[in-house]
């Protein structure tokens, strides 16, 4: 999971253009929203797209979103358990 977590930090910072955020300095339990990365709703949609595209993991429901999009670690854990795309893809 450590590997996905590192990879995810990098992807989120790059894809969502989080300037002034160094992915290597992000704690594993950094919240995705208030008090953490401060993502807004359009970012959340971009994140959903990223996770589907890169890992084949669909999070298109509110119920699931509320459980998964808590912090970087909960997201990485869910991806690891449900990923359909190989690391090489």
């Amino acid at each position: 999971m450590k590997k996905i977590l590192q990879e995810l930090k990098k992807k989120i910072v790059e894809e969502l253009q989080l300037e002034e955020v160094n992915p290597d300095e992000l704690a594993d339990d950094t919240s995705l929203f208030d008090g953490g990365l401060g993502l807004v709703s359009v970012d959340l949609l971009a994140l959903v797209v990223l996770i589907d595209r890169d890992y084949g993991v669909e999070i298109f429901s509110r119920e699931l979103g509320e459980k998964v999009f808590i912090n970087l670690s909960t997201l990485a854990e869910y991806i690891e358990k449900n990923r359909k795309k190989d690391e090489d893809q």
Partner: protein, 545 residues
């Protein structure tokens, strides 16, 4: 006057003129309830409410308000997100001949005080979540009652000064109502229905005074323009706030007029964007009015997800800010259809222009004036001389949807309404076919050494620079020229550049008088939720030396 060239581009289903019944807008609800009592009116999370149930609750709430002394002409302020509470309270207030004061839920402090005092509202209907904003200012206003819908059970935790009124709970009032009979107040179509507060892009909030006739005409114009007959109890996504005229018209009132099911999404938190995707998948809505940022996000979904979500949507509309060309193209690639773009303003109850539906208009156009709507381009300086085809001037509009004036504000009314024409303060041009194109806000126009400089012309050139992500051009005072140009630039991720490089680029690509005097590099440009650049904020926050 240039004769109305736009008529020849009207789609076949759209007449040049409509007949407007002289009825109050709540009659839409009464008529639909009589015709389709068992159609679903509202779906909100797990709650489903038929038209019969909705109308009964509306009557109950109206009777409860009446019992407590509310009557014709009273102003009731709404600080509510999209919810069944909004719909019930909206129609209940109107059925009593009272007036809905539509406020943005984000409003607080001085703006809130001004809006409450200007409207003279003595009652506020809100959610527990926003009640604190009211209690913080209540002593500086004439508000005597607060009706709360408790969503989070916060009503007992709201800090409240001594002498301020206890909040009343919306559901308690509904339960205590003496009856569910129609209130049968004498309301005519010329009575004021809504005070629509807007701060526009400059200045303190002012309220567009909209009658039942204004709003009813606007709803009928847009409905006939699109002209889609959904089968039975078709669904409409209601995510655009009802407190905004676009949401009030395209989501709330067209749905009630046609007997559609309102799929209400309050946008209370971030996860609502996921609720939206789920809701579209489950209910396969016929109509989806949205703002450009939301369309941009949806068309960026993986193609198969986007296609499956957009499949059922026959009427996709966009308003609030210009729709980027790439979003329209992507939508067309995905669905084979077009997003219809609307241009409107609070002062016009909603839309004055629409791109032809379903075939669309020229790229970058805001479309054609709606039936019974006249539009002209007038010279910027005096507003008295009509401009020729293709010339840039101030867009002025006239029609049955135009407001009566600004509430309690004669000076601003006189400036905005002249000889029956609404001066929009938007700079625009019209082509020979009668399609209109927005150029800029009049307030954003820069006059430097006698030259009229349109910020959008400079922005368009700078946006083509490969390193630039976004740019906003504003005026700065200049001792010699009156005003000068300042460009605020945000670079793309990973790009580096210095001001000199962009100065040189401007000198090579535009006449000297348009070259910015000052260029500032910033990480981002502030935008409102609809994606419109907040030049007012830039002007206030950037103090060039």
């Amino acid at each position: 006057m240039i004769e109305r060239p736009w008529f020849k581009h009207y789609e076949k289903q759209v007449p040049h003129s409509l007949t407007y019944p002289e009825i109050p807008i709540y009659q839409f609800l009464i008529d639909t309830t009589a015709k389709h009592p068992d159609y679903t009116a509202i779906t909100f999370n797990a709650l489903h409410m038929t038209y019969k149930e909705l109308n009964e609750r509306v009557n109950r709430f109206a009777q409860a308000l009446r019992k407590s002394g509310v009557g014709p002409g009273d102003r009731i302020a709404f600080l509510l997100v999209n919810s069944p509470t909004y719909v019930i309270a909206f129609f209940a207030v109107l059925k009593l001949g009272s007036i809905v004061v539509n406020l943005s839920v984000g409003i607080q402090g001085e703006e809130l005080i001004h809006s409450l005092n200007n409207s003279g509202a003595e009652i506020v209907i809100t959610l527990d979540l926003f009640a604190q904003n009211i209690y913080q200012v209540i002593k500086k206003t004439g508000v005597k009652r607060i009706i709360l819908h408790s969503v989070f059970g916060l009503e007992k935790q709201i800090p409240r000064d001594e002498g301020t009124p206890q909040p009343q709970l919306f559901l308690d009032l509904l339960a205590s109502s003496p009856s569910s009979e129609e209130p049968l107040a004498r309301v005519s179509s010329g009575d004021v229905a809504v005070l629509q507060y807007t701060s526009g892009t400059t200045g303190t909030p002012k309220a567009a005074t909209l009658t039942h006739a204004n709003i009813g005409a606007s709803v009928l114009q847009s409905e006939r323009w699109v002209g889609i007959e959904g089968e039975g109890n078709a669904s409409v996504i209601c995510i655009i706030p009802f407190f905004h005229v676009f949401g009030m018209s395209a989501c709330l009132l067209i749905s009630v007029l046609k007997g559609y099911r309102m799929l209400i999404l309050p946008r209370m938190d971030l996860m609502d964007i996921l609720s939206l995707l789920e809701t579209i998948g489950t209910y396969r809505p016929l109509s989806f009015p949205a703002v450009p940022t939301l369309w941009a996000a949806i068309v960026s979904l993986p193609p198969e997800v986007a296609r499956s979500r957009l499949e059922s949507i026959q009427v996709a509309t966009s308003g609030g800010a210009p729709l980027p060309g790439w979003v329209q193209e992507r939508f067309e690639e995905l669905t084979g259809r077009k997003i219809a773009e609307a241009y409107g303003l609070s002062e016009a109850s909603s839309a004055t222009h629409f791109t032809p539906f379903p075939h669309g208009g020229p790229s970058g156009s805001i479309g054609l004036p709606l039936p019974d709507t006249d539009a002209r381009i007038m010279d910027i300086e005096t507003g008295l001389k009509e401009c020729g085809i293709g010339e840039i001037g101030e867009l002025v509009v006239k029609g049955p949807q135009i407001m009566q004036g600004y509430w309690n504000n004669e000076a601003m009314t006189a400036a905005a309404l002249r000889n029956g024409w609404l001066y929009t303060r938007d700079l625009a041009r019209m082509d020979q076919d009668g399609f209109f194109y927005l150029v800029d806000r009049k307030d954003d126009l820069i006059i430097s050494s006698g030259f009229n400089i349109y910020p959008s012309q400079i922005e368009a050139i700078l946006e083509r620079h490969p390193k630039i992500k976004e740019v906003a051009v504003i005026a700065i005072p200049d001792r010699l020229k009156g005003q000068a140009v300042m460009a605020v630039i945000a670079l793309k991720e990973g790009q580096a550049g210095d001001k000199e490089e962009f100065f040189r680029y401007c000198q090579e690509n535009m006449p000297d008088y348009r070259v910015p005097k000052i260029i500032l590099l910033r990480q981002e440009i502030p935008r409102d939720p609809a994606g419109k650049i907040l030049k007012k904020v830039l002007r206030e926050t950037i103090k060039p030396v």
